[in-house]
Every structure is written in C-alpha cells, then in structure tokens.
C-alpha cells in the first residue's frame, strides 16, 4: 500500500536507464533525499503519453535490453538498495500481454506497491483493478485539466494510493509555466478525492513544487530528473532542492 507524507516528492526513473548501475544509484539517492517512494517506468516501444525526454530514455533502455522481465528484476534490486517502495508506470499492452493477474503478482513480488497505466482509463480498468487488489497493488488513476467535475469525483473515489493529477493538457516533459487554472483544479481534486492528490507532468522547479504542494500531497518529477541524470548531475541534491 502507498503511504505519502505531506509535500512528497516522487521521483520518476526509467528502469535500467541511463544504465543499470546509474538507475539503482538514483533510487538510493532518492531515499537519501527523503523521497517516500519512487516511480519506475517499464519501457514500452510506443509511449504515447510521454514527451521527448522519457521517450528517449525508454527507447535507449529497450535498446540496451531492458525487457519487462529485466525491469522487474531491477525494481526488486532498487527497492532492496533504497529501502523505498516502488510504483510502476507502464503502458497497457505490457500489462495485458503478461496477463493482468501475473503482472500484478510479479510486481508485488519485486517490491512494487502501486501501478500507473496512462493508456488504461477508468472505463477499461475494471479487470486490472480487481487483479491489482488481489496482489496488494494500488492501481493509481489519472485525472487531467480536461476531466469534467463529475468524472474527477469518480476518479478520486476509484483511485487507490493517490490520485495522479496531470498538470497540463499534453505529454510529460519540463515546462516553464504550469496551467493557469492549476490551483483551482488541484482544489477541486483534493476536495473530492478519497485518496491524496499528487501532481505530475511538467514539474521541475522548487517554485512549482511550493505552489502545487500548498494543496496537493506531493509532486511527481520525471523528465527534469532524467535530464539531470543523463548529464551526470547530483540527483540527490536536485531532489532535496525541490522541497526547499
């Protein structure tokens, strides 16, 4: 089960990227920086919800042999090394192909506590939701600025662990400015959700983290983290800096 303190910073890492060792060290750095868990992308050939940075990381990870099998093993080792639980992010076909039941069981065995599938909207999630519950995995639903009010409430009721609030219309990736109506959207989500709300997509600066966590429980930082990881920068310091 996912448990999140106030002002959580959740780092997103692509499994096995930019190399297996670097990935494992980044998970450990996240623990040292005080992150409560890490999100890990299991690379898929056609990541339609991702922008250029995560696309590139996914493609390179796949080319270096990071299969689903390998990703699960890397998650297990990252969980062991960091002492943090993991939330997996991947696309519907990889979960469907392995079998919803088996995927969830294997993820749980690797130390996974949650699962995010951005191309599996609520209407298609019944079966995976049931399988994930049986495995003790929280299936996290996503809401976006285009989600109508009633649907936002429904997502907040159905989501497990936390509600992943997508900050923008668009794909993942760092952005200078967040949606101008974001505060209002977060307020609505927080008011109607049964679980904590975390905001992701486009978050990269301490100012954005401050703005968002005035209301939301936490933020998810992906592309901005991967860009620093790629350049060999100190990710622990970056993650620490976000909560200053």
């Amino acid at each position: 089960m996912i448990s999140l303190p106030e002002r959580s910073v959740i780092p997103y890492l692509t499994a096995g990227w930019p190399g297996e060792q670097a990935f494992l060290e980044a998970a450990a750095a996240a623990a040292r920086a005080g992150c409560p868990l890490f999100e890990v992308g299991i690379p898929f050939s056609d990541p339609v919800a991702d922008g250029p940075t995560i696309q590139r990381a996914s493609q390179q990870a796949l080319e270096s042999g990071v299969t689903v099998e390998r990703s699960l093993e890397l998650i297990r080792r990252a969980v062991e090394l960091s002492g943090l639980p993991a939330v997996a992010m991947t696309y519907a076909n990889l979960v469907y192909r392995r079998g919803y039941e088996k995927f969830c069981q294997d993820l749980a065995a690797a130390g996974g506590v949650g699962l995010i599938v951005p191309d599996l909207p609520l209407e298609e999630s019944d079966e995976l939701e049931a399988a994930s519950r049986r495995a003790g995995i929280d299936l996290v639903q996503l809401a976006t600025p285009t989600t109508p009010v009633q649907r936002l409430e429904l997502l907040g009721q159905r989501s497990r662990g936390f509600l992943y609030l997508v900050s923008v219309r668009g794909v993942t990736g760092s952005r200078g400015r967040l949606d101008e109506n974001l505060d209002e959207l977060i307020a609505r989500a927080v008011a109607s959700s049964r679980v904590p709300v975390c905001v992701g997509f486009g978050i990269s600066t301490p100012e954005q983290v401050r703005q968002v966590t005035r209301q939301a429980r936490g933020v998810i930082v992906g592309s901005a983290l991967l860009e620093r990881l790629e350049r060999g920068e100190d990710v622990e310091a970056f993650l620490r800096g976000l909560t200053c």
Binding site: F44, S45, D46, P47, V48, A49, G51, P52, Q55, Q59, L62, T67, V68, E69, Y91, A92, N93, L94, Y96, R97, R98, P118, D119, L120, P121, L122, E123, E124, Q141, L142, A143, T144, P145, T146, T147, P148, R151, L155, V166, V168, R169, G170, V171
Partner: protein, 401 residues
C-alpha cells in the same frame, strides 16, 4: 445525385466500443472527454439527414463519386475463371478511397467547432487527402509523417505543403507510420480543445473504427448496386483496414458472399519481414484499441515491413479482429513479390496503374480467380492509384523490365 451514404446499421460496436472482445478506448485520460464529445457529435450527425446530404454533395462534386465499377475483361480472360470487377476508388479525387473518410470527418469537425486538424500519414495518401479537405474547408492542418517516409515520399510532402499543411517529420521509434500516429496522438492530447484528429483508418479508440467504417461504407454499397447481383467473392487489401471495412460492411450480412482481406506478407514470416497482423499477430493494445498486433513475447510492438507503405503497420482495425475470430472474413497474406507481379499485370492488361496496396488484393485474385467459375463475380476494391509507387516499383524491378 444522392449517394448511398449513412451509418452502417448492423454488426455495430457495443456501448464500450467493442466488437466482441476487440476495440475499446485505451487512451490517456486527457482524450476521454474529446472522444465522448466526438461520439456524441457523430451520433447527432447520424440522426441529421442534412449532414449526410451535405456529405453526399461533396463526395459527388468534389471527390467525383460514384466511382465506376469496372469490368476487367482482359484480366478475366487472362485468369480464365471468375468475372473480375474493379471498384475504382483510385478514381477518387486525390487518388484513393482516403478522401471518403476525410470529407466525412472534416464536416464533422466543422460542426463540432474544431478549427485545427491533425493527422498521421504513412506514404502520404491520407496526409494528402487530409490536407486537401483542410484547404477546401479552410481548416489549419498539421500532418505527422515518419522521417523515413518523409525521405521516401518527398513529392507527397511537397504536395501537402502546397495544399497549405504543415508537415512534421517524426524522428522517434522506427520513424514510420506507427510513430507518426504516436506523435499525432501526442499533439491531440495537448491541443484537444480546438483540434480534431482525422484518423486515417478503422483503427484507434472508439468511436474512430465506427465512424471511419461508416464513411467508407459508400464503397461497398455503390459496388453492390452497380453490380446488381450478389458477388461470389469480395476482396480488399488490409493494412489498418479502412477500404476493406468500407467494402465488407455492406456484404457482411449476406452469408453467401465470401469475404477476403489481403495482408502484406512482405518477404518472409519472421519478425520485421511482413505486416500481416491478423495472419501472424496476437491480441494486444496499440493506439487506443485492443486488436491483433505484431508484438514480441513481452508485448513490445514489432517492426514491420511491406513493399507498400500503406500496409506497413503493426496493428489492424478491431472489427477485422472480430471478423477474423468469428470467421466471417478470411484473412490471408501475399508477398511483396506477388504484389509487384500483380501491379505489373494490371498495368499491362488493363491500362491501370494500381497502388501497391491494392495490388495485394489483385495478387490474391491471381492465385484464386482461375479456380472460380465464369458465372461467379469477383469484386475487387482497387483502393488507390499507383502513381506514388512508380519510382519504388522501378527501383525494385530495375529499369529493364
């Protein structure tokens, strides 16, 4: 002249957009509202006769419909079996059946107040058809095309630009149609308020497989009336499967009519050597739908190959997956070589240069027509013209042939 347009009335998707187990709506949350609005907008259009009469007028005056049903006498004599009829979708404006769908979706987008259009294209047929309707209706147009295809189809890129479209070269993944589709979806996720995505085939999330099939159903209805009797066999090529769906939809309830969908067999049956999703794939989820998919053991989408860019796609329309499992339609694959032979044969015997896609349907006839009897009608969808393929065919066959 009122053309036989309008929604298909049988074998419909259920309320979740499923044809049996296949189809659905596997897309990011951001698109859900837009797809619901599109579904509702299309339902309103379906109930509005003025929508269909407007579409009929554009199909007639702008696209040049009805397209002829052509008796291919020399081909019939050459094969010495079935009477061969060609449904001449190649004679549509812009040179393929793609315009049928683009006109329908552009009218729908206009009704829904969308001023900007995005689309994917492989070889460029759908991109050109989309750019054409956008010019005709004064809509902003962005076409995503794999970098590899941009290089191979430079003339079509310029054609789209002449028509006022912006063509974006896609550098990700395999840099072909699949990746262009990913990028068009990413654009739509970011611009959904004012933008409509004109998907080019019967693929993608619900309601696209339904509305594209409906806009293409004019092909089969016209052909049926023109022939005036039931054909023995109806044949069409299948990439995503839009010309085939448009052709088959009218005949699918006539149990005496044999329906054959012809996929791209490429140069072998190994991974990356073909694009025969129904013949060799397994159910999976890509571009918003559960459908037969070419993928590896772990679910990564596989590279594909076909001599015909329009068939070079790892997925297929979900209704085709349903028709395969229910055995209503037979799906077979023919090789690049067979398609090239059929391409040349049609040029020589009938004076028609077919698209390499359509040549796949003809290649199946080359195999089977002679075993049919002369009182049987073999109806073939000639989905497009082959001008775009002449340079590629020349390269493959060598100048001497």
């Amino acid at each position: 002249m009122q053309l036989p347009v309008g929604p298909v009335r049988s074998q419909l998707a259920d309320s979740r957009g499923r044809f049996g187990a296949y189809g659905g709506r596997f897309v990011p949350e951001t698109l859900i509202t837009a797809l619901q609005e599109l579904e509702a907008g299309y339902a309103r259009a379906c109930a509005d006769e003025s929508f269909w009469s407007e579409l009929s007028a554009h199909l007639s005056l702008f696209a040049g419909r009805p397209t002829p049903l052509y008796p291919a006498e020399r081909l019939t004599a050459h094969w010495g079996g079935a009477r061969v009829w060609l449904k001449r979708e190649d004679l549509n404006h812009t040179g393929s059946h793609k315009l049928n769908n683009c006109l329908g979706q552009a009218l729908l987008a206009r009704r829904m107040g969308k001023r900007r259009i995005v689309a994917e294209t492989g070889a460029g047929q759908h991109g050109v058809a989309t750019a054409t309707v956008c010019a005709r209706f004064g809509l902003d147009c962005v076409i995503y095309m794999g970098a590899e295809d941009v290089r191979r189809q430079a003339l079509n890129v310029y054609r789209m630009e002449l028509l006022g479209a912006r063509v974006v070269s896609v550098e990700s993944g395999s840099r072909t149609l699949k990746d262009a589709t990913n990028e068009a979806m990413r654009d739509w996720v970011a611009t959904v308020d004012d933008t409509h995505y004109i998907l080019g085939s019967v693929v993608g999330p619900h309601p696209f497989p339904t509305l594209v099939r409906d806009f293409q159903a004019v092909i089969g209805r016209e052909a049926s009336t023109q022939l005036g009797r039931s054909p023995a066999v109806v044949v069409a090529c299948v990439g995503g499967g839009s010309n085939a769906a448009g052709m088959f939809a009218h005949f699918v309830d006539q149990s005496g009519v044999r329906l054959v969908g012809v996929e791209a067999g490429g140069f072998g049956t190994g991974p990356g050597q073909h694009a025969a999703s129904l013949s060799s794939g397994e159910p999976g989820i890509l571009h918003g739908a559960l459908t037969y998919l070419l993928q590896d053991a772990q679910g990564q989408v596989q590279a594909t190959h076909s001599v015909s860019a329009g068939l070079d796609y790892p997925g297929v329309g979900p209704q085709h997956s349903f028709w395969k499992d229910s055995r209503r339609v037979e799906y077979v694959a023919v090789s690049d070589r067979e398609a090239l032979d059929a391409f040349v044969l049609l040029c020589r015997l009938e004076g028609i240069v077919p698209a390499l896609e359509s040549a796949h349907a003809l290649a199946w006839c080359q195999r089977e027509a002679s075993s049919m009897s002369p009182d049987q009608d073999l109806l073939v969808c000639l989905s497009g013209r082959g001008d775009k393929d002449v340079a590629e065919v020349r390269r493959l066959l060598g100048d001497g042939q």
